[in-house]
């Protein structure tokens, strides 16, 4: 009996604390308050303007409140650290003269690039446009890069069409590290300290316009065109170019001298204009399969033209798992300054007859194929949740991707990437 009373007392006390006043229950007349708000006899009085109950009979509001979840201001920060080994960097110092032999270049065979981008966008949910800007910074052993950009997006009222305009500028400062054998400390400086190297800069400006439209429920298209303008140093100072004089090259593996061939560091013009334009089509075959096609045409004033075609087919296997195989084909013509090893001409005095020359196969005529696949695990409520004091952090998705890349000049590469995303 004692406990029973105690429980009842507790129950009542809890009830008393939960609200300061009891909730009023309305009677029938009060429930229709709005319709009885105006006096019956005051209905048609001119001073109330006939806004009595007969006009209020029109409907109760039938609507719903829409709350856009997202913040109006969006800031995204990307930090990256890339650690890479590069066989080619190892070779920069391969040939060092006696004079420079005691200096070890900081261009080692492995290095780390750190980069950071911050982007801010502002989107008023009641308007159709979004504005933003971006700042970026990247540093690796021979280049420090600063980036900035602005973007503006405008959507149609029904959000089926969107136009995005972007402009960005990049300012790179290159530390000029020349191949070991031409470093002379004078025209081609070198050393252990940073300022032992000469610097050069490159400015890049990019203007992009993208138009996307949802054509039907299953079909979306996107067109994009860019103009990229580059000024400044466009070649890599540590790339070697060998010429067609009949002298013989050193065997790189045994390092034994067979004969000498004229060699220069790569040299390219200090201005370049590029024009990529691309189209993307997404076709939703059914609720589980999407096909994405991409085609890009590229040309520039180094006489390079290229076509890129890629296809990706995301397949949704279940509500939380999707896989996507992909394939990419690319072909390009050679830049007018490219020639393979030992084909650039020299004159009788062993001076190059061309002003600009490169043997970098990235700008040669080639075709490449990349294929691979990935999967993505993304359950509706996330893979795992963790509640903190104010918020819940959700481990939203996990993805992995593998790609194999083959190029007609013999280059082969592969990569695996993992991605995890968290939402809070």
């Amino acid at each position: 009996m004692k406990y029973f009373l105690l429980i009842i007392t507790l129950a009542f006390s809890i009830q008393a604390f939960s609200q300061s006043e009891p909730i009023k229950v309305l009677d029938e007349k009060e429930v229709n308050f709005m319709f009885n708000y105006y006096e019956q006899d005051g209905n048609h009085s001119p001073v109330t303007g006939g806004i009595g109950s007969e006009k209020l009979e029109c409907v109760a509001p039938q609507t719903s409140i829409n709350i856009p979840f997202d913040t109006v201001h969006n800031i995204s920060v990307t930090l990256g650290i890339d650690h890479y080994t590069s066989a080619s960097c190892d070779q920069i110092d391969r040939f060092i003269t006696a004079a420079s032999s005691e200096y070890l270049s900081s261009a080692s065979s492995k290095d780390t690039r750190v980069h950071c981008d911050v982007s801010y966008t502002y989107h008023n949910p009641l308007s159709n446009n979004e504005k933003g800007f971006m700042l970026g910074y990247s540093k690796e052993f021979d280049v420090v890069s600063l980036a900035t950009g602005i973007n503006y997006a405008i959507s149609s009222e029904d959000e089926n069409r969107q136009l995005i305009l972007k402009a960005s500028a990049y300012y790179d400062t290159w530390k000029l590290m020349y191949p070991g054998e031409i470093r002379d400390g004078d025209e081609y400086r070198y050393g252990n300290e940073s300022d032992d190297y000469d610097l050069d800069t490159r400015t890049t400006a990019t203007f992009t316009a993208t138009y996307s439209q949802v054509l039907t429920r299953n079909l979306q298209v996107l067109f994009t065109a860019d103009y990229v303008m580059q000024r400044g140093i466009l070649h890599s100072p540590f790339h070697r170019v060998y010429f067609n004089d009949p002298l013989v090259i050193i065997d790189p593996d045994t390092n034994s001298t067979l004969a000498w061939k004229t060699m220069r560091a790569e040299n390219l013009p200090r201005a370049r204009n590029k024009f990529p334009m691309a189209m993307r089509v997404s076709y939703f075959v059914n609720d589980f399969i999407i096909t994405r096609f991409y085609y890009r045409y590229y040309f520039d004033d180094f006489d390079m033209t290229g076509h890129t075609f890629s296809m990706e087919i995301p397949v949704k296997l279940s509500s939380w798992l999707s896989v996507y195989p992909f394939f990419r084909y690319h072909e390009q013509t050679a830049s007018k300054y490219f020639a393979p090893f030992a084909e650039h001409p020299v004159d009788a005095m062993w001076n190059p007859t061309e002003e600009f020359y490169t043997s970098d196969y990235d700008v040669s005529a080639l075709t490449s194929r990349k294929y691979g696949g990935g999967f993505r695990i993304s359950p509706i409520y996330g893979i795992a949740n963790m509640k903190t004091k104010n918020n819940t952090i959700t481990f939203k998705s996990l993805e992995a991707r593998y790609a194999q890349y083959n190029r007609s000049d013999g280059l082969e590469a592969w990569y695996i990437s993992f991605g995890m995303s968290f939402v809070f």
């Binding site: 806004i51 409907v59 829409n66 709350i67 990256g80 009641l126 009222e157 590469a413």
Partner: protein
């Protein structure tokens, strides 16, 4: 009690071939920003409609204003505890309707709150709580049941000396109703009138379209936190932002509970949606004072009236017949990538 709310109205764009034109006139009336926007196919009607509306709003102001020395309301207040004052049918009806809302809300809405004006100041000059004795005196004077209305003579009597009535808040809803009415009589079948936190629409902005209304974010009134679409409806928002007093480290909003003469806590914004602007106005204040639980319980029982609230934690609640769609375009996401493999530099 002032409401500092800004509404966003999305007027669906009417391009060249659209039939209806509209014109907006913005002006300061009754101490608030009025935006009058009639819609009509005949452009000539718009200007005359606007001036008719402005004339009417000014007329309403002259009746209701307690600032103007010789207004009827000032007359009533001057004669508190002395004698009844005769008023027009129009004003009598308005005060009577206010009393009805006071009955419904058990005094949460009370036009006799004006007696306590000045006890709380929200301009930053108040540093200590008011004298409890003053508050006690105020709770005695603020009581709608001491507003006596005589039907036969159409007179109003404030029973106690020191009582005062203030119609400024509900007056905006009434003025909006009247502006809409006179424009309708002038042939305008579609339009919208916004005054401060009060809004009334009629007709449609465009062929078979609805009016899109946004509710201001209490933390940043130039942003909308939510939006909805309505036909002919009144939407009134009562907000407790911007004006407040900080005393002993605690923040006191500017909306006072007439029953305790103390500022209310718990809500930051209340929006009432129903066909009549005057009623929406009164209920917005009442529900704000009644608080989250009791206020929402009242609205849920009232037919034809819906409500949306934002509480002091920033959570959004709505009445039973007003569903909420939250949709997300981007949440805050963090992505981490690891890439392994040979990559040409």
């Amino acid at each position: 009690m002032r409401r500092c709310v800004i509404y966003f109205l999305i007027v669906l764009p009417l391009f060249g071939y659209g039939q209806m034109k509209h014109k907006t006139e913005t002006l300061l009336l009754m101490g608030s920003r009025f935006e009058i926007t009639p819609y009509a196919e005949d452009e000539k009607l718009l200007d005359s409609a606007i001036s008719i509306a402005i004339t009417e709003i000014k007329r309403v102001e002259s009746i209701l204003s307690e600032w103007q020395e010789n207004s009827v309301v000032s007359e009533i207040n001057k004669n508190a505890g002395i004698k009844p004052v005769a008023v027009s049918d129009e004003l009598f009806g308005l005060i009577k309707r206010c009393q009805k809302v006071s009955d419904l809300t058990d005094g949460a809405f009370d036009i006799s709150w004006a007696a306590s004006r000045g006890v709380w100041r929200f301009d930053g000059s108040m540093t200590t709580l008011p004298d409890p004795k003053l508050i006690e005196e105020m709770t005695r004077l603020v009581d709608y049941q001491n507003i006596i209305l005589y039907e036969e003579t159409k007179t109003v009597f404030l029973k106690e000396k020191g009582m005062a009535i203030g119609l400024g808040a509900i007056g905006k809803g009434y003025a909006a109703n009247r502006a809409k009415y006179v424009m309708q009589e002038a042939g305008i079948e579609n339009g919208i009138v916004i005054c401060g936190g009060d809004l009334i629409t009629w007709g449609m902005p465009e062929e078979s379209k609805l009016w899109r209304i946004g509710i201001a974010n209490p933390d940043n009134t130039s942003e909308a936190i939510a939006w909805f679409e309505v036909g002919a409806m009144a939407v009134v928002t009562s907000g407790d932002y911007e004006k407040y007093a900080t005393i002993d480290g605690k923040r006191y909003g500017h909306i006072i509970d007439p029953r305790t003469c103390y500022p209310v806590e718990g809500l930051r914004s209340v929006t009432i949606i129903c066909p009549d602007a005057e009623l929406a106005d009164a209920l917005a204040t009442a529900v704000f004072v009644m608080g989250k639980t009791n206020g929402m319980a009242l609205i849920n029982q009232l037919k034809g009236i819906e409500c949306m609230m934002i509480d002091s934690e920033g959570n959004i609640h709505s009445s039973d017949n007003l569903p909420i769609n939250t949709y997300s375009k981007n949440e805050k996401t963090e992505q981490h990538y690891i890439e392994i493999g040979t990559k040409k530099k």
